[in-house]
Symmetry: C2
Subunit: 159 residues, 2 copies
């Protein structure tokens, strides 16, 4: 008889500073996979440690590796008394994809954001990244203003 616990998806948990090294490695692997310039894992770990101390960043982890992360940034909103939350990064290691870990991370992220008093969560997504877009849409996110208004673009430049 199959043990049900083997098939249950792992729970998301909030990272502490002691996870900074593991987070640095995940972020490094993330950027390397997508061909972006990736600082060394130890450099990223130091930066994450500082961000976690500043309290404006929360990282949600999943799996024993850990096998994935969601990085959230918070700041005071202009238009409300609450916080605004930005999902800066969402990553699952290649050999654990297709097992629902992204959804577990996102549900954990939404829960953390509500607990911290955020009113909104924003994400930037490239048009061809359909797996991510479908996940976000299934969780109630929209790339249309107010859910049914005009499409919202990100404009960006280097300084």
């Amino acid at each position: 008889m199959r043990d049900m616990s083997d098939s249950a998806p792992p729970l998301a948990r909030v990272a502490s500073r002691s996870d900074a090294e593991a987070i640095g490695k995940l972020l490094h692997d993330f950027n390397k996979e997508f061909g972006e310039p990736a600082p060394q894992p130890a450099v990223l770990a130091n930066r994450i440690d500082r961000l976690l101390q500043d309290k404006d960043t929360t990282v949600v982890l999943v799996g024993d590796g850990p096998d994935g992360l969601a990085a959230l940034r918070f700041r005071l909103a202009i238009w409300s008394e609450g916080l605004e939350c930005y999902l800066a990064e969402l990553y699952v290691v290649p050999d654990r994809r297709g097992q629902g870990l992204g959804r577990v991370l996102m549900e954990g992220a939404l829960s953390v954001a509500r607990e911290r008093g955020a009113d909104t969560m924003n994400i930037e997504v490239d048009e061809p990244d359909m797996a991510a877009r479908q996940l976000y849409e299934s969780l109630g996110f929209s790339n249309r203003e107010g859910g049914d208004g005009p499409v919202m673009y990100v404009y960006e430049r280097n300084l």
Copy 2:
């Protein structure tokens, strides 16, 4: 003979806490014009005063009214040693539009962001807002990843 100073566009300046009341009024008028729920000017002024104290916000003003503002938010970047800058609001009062004040504000904003050590500036723009999009594009912003990659969307939800 025409005095050249009459036709020169006004200079942008960085707001101080003593401008919080004027900024609250501009933000209130901004949201009211676009039919969004707008907290009272005094509420917005208090919030701006707090944001200016927290140092993560810089407001650039233009004109004697003042007649326009650019609100910038800063935070430590994850992928670099610098800051990332987000242009949260750009507004020019209705009767001063078409006189280049938006461009003066944006040039001031880019200058402030560089001075503060930001590597990037991001903006969220609705697809039909062609005046803003053309202004941002003329200043080197793109809604394509890296300038010529895939289109970048904002996804958002309330919590």
